[in-house]
Symmetry: C2
Subunit: 305 residues, 2 copies
Amino acid sequence: MVLGVDVGGTNIRLAVVNAQGDIGERTSQRAELSQLAGENAAQHVLDTLSDAILPLLEKHPQISVIGIGFPGFFDNKTGRMIASPNIPGLRDFALTDALQEKLHLPVHVQNDASLAALGEFRFGAVQGLNSLLHLTLGTGIGGGLILDGKMYGGDGGIAMEIGHMHIAPEGRICGCGNTGCLETYASATAVSKGYFEQSGKRLNAREICLLAEQGDQLALTILEEAGHYLGRAIAETVKLLDVRHVSISGGLSQAWPLLFPALSQALEEHLIPPLRGQIHVRHSALNDDAGILGAASLALAHSSE
Amino acid sequence: MVLGVDVGGTNIRLAVVNAQGDIGERTSQRAELSQLAGENAAQHVLDTLSDAILPLLEKHPQISVIGIGFPGFFDNKTGRMIASPNIPGLRDFALTDALQEKLHLPVHVQNDASLAALGEFRFGAVQGLNSLLHLTLGTGIGGGLILDGKMYGGDGGIAMEIGHMHIAPEGRICGCGNTGCLETYASATAVSKGYFEQSGKRLNAREICLLAEQGDQLALTILEEAGHYLGRAIAETVKLLDVRHVSISGGLSQAWPLLFPALSQALEEHLIPPLRGQIHVRHSALNDDAGILGAASLALAHSSE
């Protein structure tokens, strides 16, 4: 038994998972971790995580390893956190060591988007792949990459920042300081913002997906635009990486039948001939659980050590 | 001793190389291999290659392995050639087996751009890197990628088609059928074509680089545009891959001091904050020999087997 933990900007989700990827008890806890700054950030993160984790450890003494997906950049080799873009107070932080000391169990922490990709790779609808690109359409766009069966993080743990691909010239202003980034068009936040700007109604991505399914024209247009830009971004990525399988999860992917046609058309248009028809993009069957199952996979990989 | 062979569209270049990467005798031979179609293409390629290689094998009996860089897509695992975009007659061709039979020596063939990256990685100016992106600015733009010390080819051997990154909306028509591809702005061919269209003078990229060094305004403008698009393409690539080192070779890179400022400015502008100042782009010190030395590296890696 292992514990899989998926740390988001506003929620921490936890689940007890067995070696087959079956989820047992699960809990969830609100936690405002983003925008934490200063010296207390590290302590606050540590306390919040251990408060969420300890009750499950007490209840399930069979848990032998803990895997955690965290929004940050990690050193591939040491597992040390280099920085967390949404938690400015955390820099060069040995989160793993600090948690192990507090919890008295082996802890393994990795980038949340990479672990979502690992979860999809190990427990998703298609097994036995060589590589996989996984996108999570949430507050931003999380990108995770599995190459030859392993999580790929790059030289400094920052790889797969596909949300900041420059996709629209003269485009919208992004939080990163640039304009025209993919996530200003195709994240759950972007769709919600776009709908509000044109209708005055504040709805989340899931609500907009429901409206689109009911034929709401504005919702349909915005989802189609998101699909178009996603297709283009995937085309550019696979021309560089020749990864043949792509999965997509997150609130915005709920309206898959409405998102996919524009995505697929833009993808095929922007590929080179030898890749046309070769890229398989699918809606994640795990959806919100990809992150938890990826964190559990990381723990399972270490549980036999 | 090994033999390194770099097969281009119009030239085959060969060199005898020792384990330290020192080049001994070298030869070069014109060979019109591109656009070969039909059943005779394979035989023609085989004959041309063995005619170029045999004299060197006779003269240097110490050569124990042959490495060849060839413009085509190769299966990562079997080494079999899947296709060669410029030689339509070659499909699913066991070039390696056929050459071994003819030459009575072990032969290893891989994608030419990947081998140029390997040559730069093993014998270039900076040693001990983890990963490297190498670009060759020639007829098109060859992209090769080394990840964790190994050539990366992707699921189907097509990876790093950076020349076909969509970089300019409403841009120029490319040979691949799309518009606005990087190589329609930043290949040696593109620069030569651009200069001709605006001046009526037919010059090659090296001549245009020389003119730019002498202050020719049109040549300067065209090189600056090429540098700008290269910088943007490198930014998009490293946001996906977090590869910190990039090297560039090929005729167009001769005018490095003129190309680099626009490249560097566009690169930094399009990066996300944690990557700014972290990407090192340099002019290849090996230049035209990167391909030969990469082919030799491939042979050397197998010479101790």
